[in-house]
Amino acid sequence: MKKTFFQKYGILIIFLLLCLVLSFLSPVFLSIPNLINVVRQISINGILAIGMTLVILTGGIDLSVGSQVALTGAIVAGLQAHGQGAFLAVIVGLLLGAFLGCINGLIITKGGLPPFIVTLGMLTAARGLTLIYTGGRPIYDLSKAFNFIGAGYLGSIPIPVIILTLVLLVSHFVLKYTIFGREVYAVGGNPEASVYSGINKEKRLVQVYTIMGFLSGLTGIVLTSRLGSADPTAGVGFELDAITAVVIGGTSMFGGEGAVTGTLIGALIIGVINNGLNLLNVSSYYQQVVKGVIVVGAVLMDNYARKKQQKISE
């Protein structure tokens, strides 16, 4: 059975259609500065969503990413405020993120609890730790070197976009061409059969949540650097944006099906919608409605195409 063009590239087509419509409605939409603008804005959600894709591929979910972003951001900023160098702060931030994710993974596998519950707990606890550490106030006045990560450019390309691209490429190749990637799909596609096939399911799950934590830490660093300050309320609701991008990108919430390339398009769709609504001066009241309709509509169209394909194969 062959997939038709639309079934394979459905979400990409929807994205291009959206861009086409916006370019007619707003003359600046397709300008280079605006496009750079959009990709820079989606880099934050994009990095998280790629990690979330891995988690959802295993049939799990991580609700704690937003809080992990805030906590790592706060610690990274705090270390610098206490006179530590930017380099050390970044390393500590990445390790802290990985550590938080690892804790999620260990409780899920060793404690046998559902990821939803465990990461919900981490969501609250990490947010609380952030507030304790910052005393509820933003930490600002960070070094120039550090600010370069979020605000700098390589040529004319913003650094966050380069980071996102690297994360995307690495995760794409890892998922597609390595034993680890193959086993992640298997664990999500059928946990029981993967154990029967001799896969160390628990180890893989801990690894996936650790990677998610590492990417949350990375996001925390990029976000803090981009804003020039660590805000204790940063990252609230990030988990939902990330999950939305994953779902729009065609990854199954049941696990075992999907790809990071789809997730990137999902993140782009969200970014383009936000950007377009701002450019078109749509009233704030209507923006939320439009966003909701486009998100559900995109997934609906994609789903329809797949269902049709499934019927044929039956």
Partner: protein, 313 residues
């Protein structure tokens, strides 16, 4: 294997119990000892943003001075949570309840319940739509919006393009600040409001929205943000686009970081809502009430414009 796991679980639960009881007793034993002093309960809508953290500092400072015992709760912006917290506070029978409500309407039953329990309620920052309040202490957000507009008009010499960044749509701060700002702008036909967009009082969103708007509008003269968080995000975006000489940014709330930004010229001005003063006034009013003094129905603190010049003084 199974039994091992069960045993581990038992040990784990046991440890958890010990920890919880331990923390519980640490918190409550001093509470039992320290009776007799007047008790003031302060129910915050949130302590996760600088504005209310400043207010809490004011409350604590004044409570220390007045030698009263203080109980503080944080509802994390959830009305339902705040309802439950107020109910818990009432059981502890404070002499006065200070309430910074999450919502003016939803918290009405909480005030009624306190009234029934003979505990006086003073609301701070946001009012509650109930006649059972002793008094309401707040700032005049509408007037604050007007002040910001007047300042913008003055800086632009009465002519130019303006953008407003709005807070969470439907919140009272968003409504009142927008009302005051738009009212004054409307009287000046040469000032054009290009657009108003929400960034939900959030810095990241403020930055993203302004980045987008900078693409859409080649000529912007001023941005008014309904709080400092959004204003700071806006400044970040403007700087990145290299248009800081062209656009002035006015914030609201006078957070410490915003004041720094005003001092070094990145932000043109902010409006001093002075949460610290609100906190101090709250405890002071409570003490006056306990001494038997009559309080006015509404205490509105003045809102000051904070500029580089006013800070230099």
């Amino acid at each position: 294997m199974k039994t091992m796991r069960g045993k581990n679980l038992k040990i784990f639960v046991g440890c958890l119990l010990v920890v919880v009881l331990g923390i519980g007793s640490i918190i409550y034993i001093p509470a039992i000892k320290a009776k007799r002093k007047p008790v003031i309960a302060m129910a915050f809508c949130t302590l996760n943003i600088p504005f209310f953290v400043e207010m809490e500092n004011g409350v604590r400072e004044e409570a220390k001075k007045a030698d009263v015992k203080l109980i503080v709760t944080n509802a994390e912006d959830s009305a339902a949570k705040q309802m439950a917290q107020v109910e818990d506070l009432l059981i502890q029978k404070p002499d006065v309840l200070l309430l910074a409500p999450v919502d003016s309407d939803v918290l009405v039953p909480a005030v009624e319940a306190a009234h029934k329990a003979n505990i006086p309620v003073i609301s701070i920052d946001r009012s509650v739509n109930s006649d059972k309040l002793i008094t309401f202490i707040g700032v005049d957000d509408v007037e604050g919006g007007r002040t910001a507009a007047r300042y913008v008009i003055e800086r632009l010499n009465g002519k130019g393009n303006v953008i407003m960044l709005e807070g969470v749509i439907g919140s009272s701060a968003q409504r009142d600040r927008a009302q005051g700002f738009e009212e004054v702008i409307a009287k000046n036909p040469k000032i054009k409001m290009l657009t108003k967009q929400t960034a939900n009082f959030n810095r990241t969103e403020g930055m993203n929205v302004v980045e987008n708007l900078l693409q859409a509008y080649p000529k912007i003269d001023a941005i008014f943000a309904q709080n400092d968080e959004m204003a700071l995000g806006a400044i970040r975006a403007i700087k990145a686009a290299g248009r800081e000489d062209e656009i002035i940014v006015v914030g609201f709330d006078a957070d410490p970081e915003a004041k720094d930004a005003v001092r070094n010229g990145n932000m043109a001005a902010t409006i001093e809502g002075s949460p610290y003063k609100l906190g101090i006034t709250g405890v002071k009013s409570a003490m006056q009430y306990l001494e038997g003094k009559k309080l006015p129905e509404k205490i509105l603190l003045p809102l000051d414009l904070v500029t580089k010049e006013s800070l230099a003084k």
